[in-house]
């Protein structure tokens, strides 16, 4: 039971990934009083921390599904709000490139599927045009399809902006707050969390990799999460000049294959692999798999063999036994399920949030939309737009690889949603994410974050561990 005097929220959103943040924002804009419960020390610590940062058109999604609908709604919504939230759009377009006769023969069906999915500007690209557009591409390509609307965004600033706008419109976010159990008493959900009990009228499960475990609080889960790991390699900034477009593979039955994409931060990204695993918590990189991945990348762009690696990472996607998203409202239980949001979640998040607002209205009555919601501007991390180090009075640059100023680090440690751990600070500022990985700035960052993280990056010499 909720403790006497504790607040009753209209909605509890479980999970602070990109979907949870987008849903929280949409509910706050709808005039509700939602709270987001995140078990980690910061938002985006699960599946949302590692993805390919593509804003997808949905050209290759299974036709007619909820995933496609949410992606396309999310794509439009992102374009509609990004300027007001100060979010970037790197207009790269994408090329699906075939590397064999068999793959080339499948390109017409890719164009046809794009037409079916309403992405009408997708077209075959002749090889001479392909090599003129992408001179660094291996000459072994056998065919290509251009997807003009497939672009790149900042995968961390977007959900942060959603969360911050939610906070500015009456939402709350509780971190280090794992939901361990719950029950309905007198029409209210009473949730047990690692930070005490809490009551809410409606619960929305956005728990990603933990989705089926959280779903069990309400019912036998209609889906089981089967984590799928994707390993990535990030190349240093000089590699980004090798490509203009994102290079996609001809997908097979299981995955979309390995892509090469410029990032909003000015690097070149290669990945992901697709490996099933049982562990939902830890995603390990594997040196030999990364070496194979780099070799595959060099097969696509030969000059990549001479480029330096800046970072490697592994992300987990919450795949399930279903090919489509699992999104359901249970009006009697006052519960909404959002499960199986895979790599398309970054694109789809705002669309899923719109869909949830519809479901919420249908199930629990129309909401009273805020007529004049507050907007927030997140700090820009994208190289295509001015960054603080380029401004007058930029002050001290702390991270020399990513040119992160002391002011940016101070801002990320302040405000309504300060970084909760080093990962959160990195995602908010890019500090220590560059080629030296902290060789030059680890001491300074440890000093600037003293007293902010638990455990701290370093302790004073005399302190006990």
């Amino acid at each position: 039971m909720a403790s006497p005097g504790s607040q009753i929220y209209s909605v509890a959103v479980i999970g602070g990934g990109v979907v949870g943040c987008a849903v929280l924002r949409r509910l706050a804009l709808a005039g509700l009083r939602p709270v987001l419960l995140e078990r980690g020390p910061d938002i985006l610590g699960g599946a949302s921390k590692g993805n390919s940062a593509i804003l997808h058109t949905g050209f290759d999604a299974p036709p007619g599904g909820l995933e496609l609908a949410c992606m396309q709604r999310g794509y439009r919504a992102y374009l509609a709000v990004r300027e007001r939230l100060n979010l970037p759009l790197l207009e790269t377009s994408a090329l699906v490139v075939a590397w064999s006769a068999v793959q080339a023969a499948r390109l017409p069906e890719i164009v046809a599927k794009a037409q079916t999915n309403g992405v009408g500007d997708v077209r075959p690209m002749p090889l001479d045009e392909l090599f003129a557009r992408e001179p660094a591409l291996a000459r072994t390509a056998t065919g290509a399809v251009l997807v003009p609307g497939e672009h790149v965004i900042d995968p961390w600033s977007a959900p942060l902006a959603y969360a911050l706008q939610a906070l500015a419109n009456g939402a709350e976010i509780r971190r280090d707050c794992a939901v361990t159990d719950g029950r309905r008493v007198d029409g209210l959900w009473h949730l047990d969390t690692s930070r005490g009990p809490l009551a809410a009228a409606v619960v929305i499960n956005c728990a990603g990799l933990q989705g089926d475990l959280v779903e069990a609080i309400c019912r036998d889960s209609p889906f089981t999460v089967a984590p799928r790991k994707g390993q990535f390699v990030v190349f240093d900034k000089p590699a980004a000049r090798l490509l203009r477009s994102t290079i996609l593979a001809v997908p097979d039955a299981r995955t979309k294959g390995v892509l090469l994409a410029r990032t909003a931060f000015g690097n070149l990204l290669l990945g992901p692999t697709a490996e099933d695993q049982l562990d939902r918590e830890r995603a390990e990189v594997d040196g030999s798999v990364l070496a194979e991945l780099i070799a595959r990348g060099a097969g696509i762009v030969p000059a990549l063999a001479g480029e330096r690696v800046t970072a490697t990472f592994a992300g987990l996607r919450p795949a399930t036994q279903h090919t489509d998203y699992v999104i359901e409202a249970l009006p009697a239980e006052r519960w909404i399920t959002i499960g199986g949001i895979r790599s398309t979640g970054l694109t789809a998040a705002l669309g899923i949030a719109e869909h949830i607002a519809d479901l919420y209205g249908d199930s629990f009555g129309p909401a009273d939309e805020r007529p004049d919601p507050a907007w927030v501007q997140v700090p820009n991390l994208c190289e295509e737009r001015p960054r603080p180090y380029q401004s007058a009075d930029c002050g001290e640059i702390v991270c020399h690889c990513e040119w992160v100023t002391r002011g940016e680090i101070a801002a990320a440690l302040a405000g309504p949603l300060p970084a909760g751990d080093l990962g959160g600070l990195r995602r908010r500022t890019r500090c220590m994410l560059g080629r030296c990985q902290g060789f030059y700035c680890a001491g300074r960052v440890a000093e600037l974050t003293a007293g902010r993280f638990d455990p701290p990056l370093a302790r004073a010499r005399g302190d006990a561990a």
Partner: protein
């Protein structure tokens, strides 16, 4: 509308470490007064600032000093010579003709050097390019980061660390751990022997009591938010070592990020700019010197090289050398067993008074006869036993006055 004139100086030195400060001092002494030294850090002195152990300065200043004392000495000398230092100043882009874009605490700025000396030094290879398996917890650091935490900030990032590598810097990592009140659990080296020359191994084994495990490879790092251990592999197989920190040492790389390869040619072998025997780059307004061009040498060696490069720059500014060599530039062809050679290019003819040597590195442990061939005649050769990361010196004296069509460094 007239374009505001860009501030132009005779020499702009990028990097206030041993190389850059030595070059500025010598330039001043040679009468090139209009010199400015830039450094992106808020303190001058470079890497020695955080090398808290001894071993510096004997040849340069006649006494054995710690790294910070060496740094203080060079900074003090520069101040006494009236050299202008601009700290907290980052070069964000280089352009032809010595034009630099800067980020300064006051905002963006432009600066042009009639000559620019790039002396941005080196750093160690961090985890990602090493393709180490496992999770990615906090607590995996290079020696440089550890030294900054311990010697500059008085901080201790963990309690028990494994040191990966056995170069000279790896022993510095051991000493830094001790100085910071941390325990080195083991030093591991994949090769059959340690990379550093003595007395590094004696220091580790006898003075510090640290097990030095050669033939042992780091397989994976384990942990959640923090390091919880490592998996290593030797001839007996794989095993875990309990630790809460990992120091990845050495495998130095030039800090060449600012060197736009469309302006100044980079050598894929060294990772630094391609230079000739006068430290001149492919764009003749740029010079490069110190560890930026040859990862890695001692601070003292970089200091002495900075002095020598200053002579070349002063002569160039005085017009006593032509911007392009009279008989052209000859690229030295490099044997595949060698990782890099520096200088990569020889300006011909080689002037009589110059005394210099090539600096080379083997890709892996190699034995054989190393020979410098001018056309097909060996002008120098020696039997070598090369170890990775150890300097191979190839004297170039025999080149004096020659005008070869082909120069090769071969290993037979």
């Amino acid at each position: 509308m007239t374009r505001p004139a860009v501030e132009t100086r005779d020499v702009v030195v990028v990097g206030a470490g041993p190389t850059g400060l030595a070059a500025a001092l010598r330039l001043k002494a040679l009468g090139v007064a209009d010199v400015v030294v830039l450094d992106r850090e808020t303190e001058a002195g470079g890497i020695p600032r955080h090398c808290g152990h001894t071993g510096f300065g004997l040849r340069e200043f006649g006494r054995l000093m710690t790294g910070p004392a060496f740094a203080r000495r060079t900074v003090r000398d520069a101040a006494r010579a009236g050299i202008e230092l601009r700290l907290g100043t980052t070069v964000t882009a280089i352009a032809p003709d010595g034009r630099l874009a800067l980020a300064t605490p006051q905002g963006p700025a432009q600066l042009r050097g009639r000559r620019v000396l790039l002396a941005t030094g080196v750093r160690e290879t961090p985890r990602p390019p090493r393709l180490v398996s496992g999770t990615r917890p906090w607590g995996v650091l290079n020696t440089g980061a550890l030294q900054q935490l311990v010697y500059l900030k008085g901080l201790r990032p963990f309690a028990r660390a494994v040191v990966v590598g056995s170069e000279l810097v790896s022993f510095s990592a051991l000493l830094t751990l001790k100085a910071g009140g941390m325990r080195p659990v083991a030093m591991i080296e994949p090769g059959p022997r340690i990379t550093a020359r003595r007395p590094g191994d004696l220091v580790a084994r006898h003075l510090l009591g640290v097990p030095v495990l050669t033939g042992t490879r780091l397989v994976a790092i384990q942990g959640g938010a923090r390091v919880e251990g490592v998996v290593v592999e030797d001839r007996q197989g794989q095993r875990d070592i309990d630790c809460d920190g990992v120091i990845l040492t050495g495998r130095f790389l030039p800090e060449a990020a600012v060197v736009d390869r469309d302006v100044v040619e980079l050598d894929p072998g060294s990772g630094g700019p391609v230079i000739d025997q006068s430290w001149r780059c492919s764009d003749p307004s740029y010079y490069a010197c110190g560890n930026l061009v040859h990862p890695v040498e001692s601070a003292g060696r970089c200091y002495r090289e900075g002095l020598a490069a200053a002579q070349a720059i002063a002569a160039d500014l005085a017009g006593s050398t032509s911007p392009a060599a009279a008989d052209g530039m000859l690229r030295v062809e490099l044997d595949g067993a060698l990782r890099y050679l520096c200088p990569q290019v020889v300006a011909l003819p080689v002037a009589p008074p110059s005394r210099w040597a090539f600096n080379a590195r083997a890709a892996q442990e190699t034995r054989g006869r190393l020979a410098l061939l001018a056309d097909n005649a060996a002008i120098w050769s020696r039997r070598i036993h090369a170890l990775p990361e150890r300097r191979l010196t190839v004297p170039a004296d025999g080149l004096r006055g020659l005008r070869p069509r082909r120069l090769r460094l071969v290993l037979e």
